[in-house]
Symmetry: C2
Subunit: 236 residues, 2 copies
């Protein structure tokens, strides 16, 4: 099975949260284990909903350069009260905040990455900090050749410095890099920098109760159900 | 077999050139394949000898921030003439310059790292740029959890920002990081930042004709013949 595309990339750069790992299930499960009465589905989505506004505070300069671990904590502190979790101890809060390091990959991810790694250089391109992404990869067995992060470029996606930074790090042209993500805005920003793009569906990213629109956008180079389908298309 | 040491580190950060890979043999072999009459041993050592002076030009501010790939090219251009290689084409020079991406690991390295990875987070801490270290790891099968480089910290070893940067990235205390290297000056600088240190012997780093002094320095936390002996001592 193969789909025509302009030319084989050399580097595949992967978004992680939602694309490679299932943040919704992991967070819902941990918070419900901690406090069985909490609505894990709503808690997970509330935490994630705080992400873009927090990121904008960094990008606008209101906050200085801030690692995702610290942004996650700022948001967590805002939602603990509304979810009846204000009484957690500081140790419990710190542990819960690092749930983002302990997320499981979607079922196709390890096998798909292993196939793709045989033919391409595979790296992360995530706003997650290096330590978070390394802990996640080690726990989940994600076989990245290299962990690239906003932390390396001191800029968050969708800043062009991140997408173009991948090409610079590996000394290739932007068109020789393909961003793989389940978010059309991330892919659009990469495309504007000259990267190839592959959309991955992940309809349950926000939980089975909140199916995501996964309609193809013809502007993307490739559209795949999951990493195994991507490997089928890319020949990995 | 075990040696007492203060406390188990969480992170092992490895120097690469000389410690993990055999730069001398790799360079000598490639230059002799390119031009059989050249003294590969002398050429390899001349290239490496240019490294510290070039690095000092960056650290003094004479050169702006410069990747190792570019420093290697500056030095290469200085030694091509004396070694009778000035007639190489630009393509040949560019290919030869990337020999540093194509170095073989010492025979114990992959097995040793695989054992250590089962118990510790293992990363590079090298002045090599991220692209170089990634290509090296992919070709040689080095199973790093994460590739950290001077490029991440925008500072070269022995700048404290590099050693302390490893601890910061992984959110651990400096004493929870152990630098593993075959160079006493690198280890001394790490120790001054509070890291644990392990010396690896590599007596043939500069070629079999130039055996290196590998006498133990009691200031190091551990002293090991190679990575397998280090795994014996660390319990990996």
């Amino acid at each position: 099975m193969s789909t025509p595309f302009p030319s084989h990339p050399k580097v595949l750069a992967f978004d992680t949260f939602g694309t490679a790992v299932d943040w919704h299930s992991g967070i819902a499960r941990e918070v419900q284990a901690l406090r069985p009465g909490v609505d894990g589905d709503a808690f997970a989505n509330a935490w994630r909903d705080g992400y873009k506004p927090a990121m904008r505070r960094v990008m606008s300069g209101e906050l200085g350069w801030t690692l995702i671990d610290d942004l996650h904590r700022i948001i967590l502190d805002q939602i603990l009260g509304p979810f009846g979790l204000a009484d957690l101890s500081e140790t419990q809060k710190q542990h819960l905040n690092k749930v983002w390091h302990r997320l499981d990959p979607w079922p196709d991810v390890v096998a798909g990455l292993t196939r793709l790694k045989s033919r391409y250089l595979i790296c992360t391109l995530s706003n997650g900090n290096i330590g978070l992404l390394t802990n996640m990869a080690k726990r989940a067995g994600l076989p990245w050749d290299c962990i690239l992060s906003a932390e390396v470029f001191r800029a968050y996606k969708p800043d062009p410095a991140t997408y173009l930074g991948v090409a610079q790090v590996f000394d290739v042209a932007p068109a020789e890099v393909m961003l793989v993500a389940t978010h059309q805005d991330d892919l659009a920003a990469a495309r504007a920098c000259g990267l190839q793009t592959a959309y991955i569906e992940r309809p349950a990213e926000f939980g089975a109760a909140h199916p995501k629109d996964v309609a193809p956008n013809p502007a993307n180079t490739l559209h795949a159900k999951d990493f195994l389908a991507l490997a089928d298309q890319l020949g990995g």
